[in-house]
């Protein structure tokens, strides 16, 4: 088992709107409580792309429109291709909310041109128009992929206008029990590709769904020893 890992947090000052830090804290603490030292490397506009080398896990969160534009331009041009290559090679990653949309092929706003995405995930997102309802609220869903977690229940909060549709290379993360998920239509929430996960759940995702956090960590370090999750399980159950 690896004794230390590097978590690369993409654009912590730009893409961090809905308590996204909780996902990073969860990874870091759940490693530390097992004696694995986890350092967090903030990667932002001014960071050299070389800083990504040796990253064991990637995380990218949600953003306000203006901030997303700034981060998006930089990611497409500089960091995106490197991250894509590493994810293809099996590095675990988590993309939440705006980052989930942005990891796909494109985002089509209700007005104007398609905004190109990083093409890491085989998916696209469409905003159906300014009269369309934003999908906001608590969500409960049953995991279908990765298979080792199949059947477990994840809880979170969603708040998005865009509707995401998965391409054939993606596997859905979970089947929605309560709430909307990817598009409010096909019943799926989130997506899995190799060791990378995308999700609309902020809330944030990992603290109340520790099995997802541990799955990502295990992909980075190998088999994990169990730790006490009494509070996490109670928090998860309370939302069902």
């Amino acid at each position: 088992m690896k004794q230390s890992i590097k978590i690369a947090w993409l654009y912590p000052d730009l893409m961090s709107t809905y308590g996204d830090r909780g996902n990073v804290i969860a990874l870091q603490k759940r490693a530390a409580w097992r004696g694995i030292e986890a350092s967090v490397v903030p990667v932002t506009l001014e960071t050299n792309v070389k800083a990504l080398a040796g990253s064991d896990i990637f995380f990218m969160g949600g953003a306000q429109d203006r901030q997303q534009k700034l981060a998006g331009e930089d990611f497409l041009k500089h960091k995106g291709p490197v991250v894509k290559e590493m994810i293809e090679a099996g590095v675990p990653a988590l993309f939440v909310c705006a980052a989930y949309q942005f990891a796909g092929h494109y985002y089509k706003p209700y007005r104007g041109e398609k905004i190109p995405g990083a093409g890491i995930f085989d998916l696209y997102t469409v905003h159906p128009g300014d009269q369309a309802k934003r999908l906001i609220g608590n969500v409960v869903a049953r995991v279908v992929h990765p298979e080792t977690l199949s059947g477990t229940v994840i809880v979170g909060f969603e708040n998005h206008g865009g509707r995401t549709h998965l391409g054939p290379k993606m596997q859905p993360l979970a089947k929605v029990i309560k709430g909307n998920g990817n598009n409010g239509d096909d019943g799926w929430e989130g997506a899995v590709y190799k060791n990378a996960i995308g999700s609309y759940f902020h809330g944030p995702l990992l603290p109340k769904n520790p099995m997802i956090a541990d799955w990502l960590l295990a992909k980075a370090v190998g088999t994990l020893i169990p730790i006490d999750d009494t509070l996490e399980v109670m928090a998860n159950n309370a939302m069902r």
Binding site: Y18, G19, I25, K29, L45, Q64, L231, M234
Partner: protein
């Protein structure tokens, strides 16, 4: 059609009085709602009757305290004031306050209005009420599921402020880049308030910052120093956009906490613009009693509870820092997710709970107590399940039963939690 406006007011007032006497509620919002539904522009008629005009206060944090400070100063110098003291700060709440301050002929019985206004409602309130003074305090992320993003509010405000006449003087926080930037669209006089106190700059920046990119060109702002969140001495090295030099930098703050220093500066800014002498401002604020749930002290037997409304990351960080400075050793956190709190509680992960030292005992309660419990656990603070309280009353009773390590039990609560704490300890939610 002033007679029709008056009739509307008398009608709404009658229904309000009848229903209140039947115990159907205190009428914080719905008498106004009735009046507005009959006469959408009733606020224009009512505010037009104030001989000394209206003052409006808006911003994410501090509007209740700041408007109460301004009211305290105005009453000290003998003005008669209509004020939405209960925090009903949408158009219907403001109109309701007016209706309470009219006689049976529908005449307004005050000289001046001082109202706090909800961030989203400011544009619509400005459509009907042209204030004499407008105070804008700050903008932080708050209830994103309801208010949307900070940038969106800044844009809406900019459009609304550009329409204000020259006669409206505006008092702006120079240290909040989003607020300070509004100055350029205002036709009337602009007064900036802010701190010039590098000794109070933060060593380590907080995680919860929103407006750290230039609103003019989008470049990352450079800070000489930050007081809290994104409030500080800022400039843009790309386009030259810079923090305006504040003229109001000193004021007597009657309450602890840097954020209250800003509230006091805003109130002093208004007082100065109304030519109220400094001496009188000082005298007025000396006897200032905090607004409900804002650093409110409640005696319970021989013990003291200090209640801090804490409803968003910037506000929560400010409350936490202040209670720790005040010597808090026993803290109870109350997290609800009802409509007035916002349904989304993910923001607790943007609060720096890591600042709580191990010597402090922390308990949690509220609808979303488990979310808070995990947040505390992941800050490496001890939170045994015996201090995760299902019932708020139980949480308060048990926390007070044990000998307190510090000088009081400090309760930090979201809005509906704060009201419940008051209901339990004082028998009433608001005033």
């Amino acid at each position: 059609m002033a007679w029709f406006d008056r009739l509307t007011v008398i009608f709404a007032k009658s229904i309000s009085v009848i229903s209140t006497s039947l115990g159907l509620g205190a009428g914080e919002t719905w008498p106004g709602e009735i009046a507005v539904s009959i006469r959408p522009d009733i606020a224009r008629f009512l505010s037009g009757k104030l001989s000394d005009g209206t003052i409006l206060v808006a911003g994410t944090n501090g509007k209740t305290t700041t408007s109460l400070m301004i009211k305290t100063i105005l009453e000290h110098i003998g003005d008669s004031v209509v004020h939405n003291a209960t925090g009903a700060n949408l158009l219907n709440g403001i109109v309701s306050s007016f209706i309470r301050n009219t006689d049976w002929l529908g005449r307004v019985t005050a000289d001046m209005g001082i109202f706090e206004v909800d961030e989203n409602s400011l544009p619509v309130v400005l459509k009907y009420i042209t204030p004499k003074r407008l105070v804008l305090l700050n903008l932080f992320r708050d209830q994103l599921d309801r208010y949307g993003e900070v940038d969106v509010i800044v844009e809406k405000w900019m459009t609304a402020l550009a329409k204000l006449p020259k006669t409206t003087e505006v008092i702006l926080n120079s240290d909040d880049p989003g607020i300070a930037g509004l100055g350029r669209v205002i036709k009337g006089k602009v007064t900036y308030f802010g701190l010039n106190d590098p000794g109070k700059y933060l060593g380590v920046r907080e995680h919860a910052t929103d407006s750290i990119f230039c609103f003019r060109c989008g470049h990352r702002l450079t800070y000489d120093g930050i007081y809290y969140s994104h409030i500080g001495s800022w400039r843009c090295t790309k386009c030259g956009n810079t923090r305006p030099v504040p003229t109001v930098t000193r004021g007597p703050s009657p309450l602890p906490g840097l954020y209250n220093q800003y509230n006091a500066l805003a109130a002093v800014g208004v007082a100065t613009s109304l030519d109220i002498p400094d001496k009188e401002v000082k005298k007025a604020l000396r006897g200032f009693a905090p607004a409900f749930g804002r650093q409110e002290e409640i005696r319970v037997g021989k013990k003291t509870v200090k209640l801090f409304l804490s409803k968003n990351p910037a506000g929560f960080n400010a409350s936490l820092k202040t209670v720790l400075e005040m010597g808090a050793k026993d803290i109870l956190l109350v997290l609800n997710d009802r409509i007035p709190d916002g349904r989304d509680v993910s923001w607790i992960w943007d609060v720096d709970f890591e600042m709580i030292p191990p010597s402090v005992t922390v308990g949690v309660s509220g609808d979303r107590r488990y979310d808070m419990a995990i947040r505390i656990k992941y800050a490496d603070i001890d939170i045994p399940s015996s201090r995760v309280y299902q019932q708020l009353e139980d949480a308060i009773v048990k926390s007070l039963k044990k000998p307190l390590k510090g000088n009081a039990l400090y309760i930090l609560a979201t809005y509906s939690g704060m009201l419940e704490v008051r209901k339990i300890l004082k028998g009433r939610k608001i005033l």
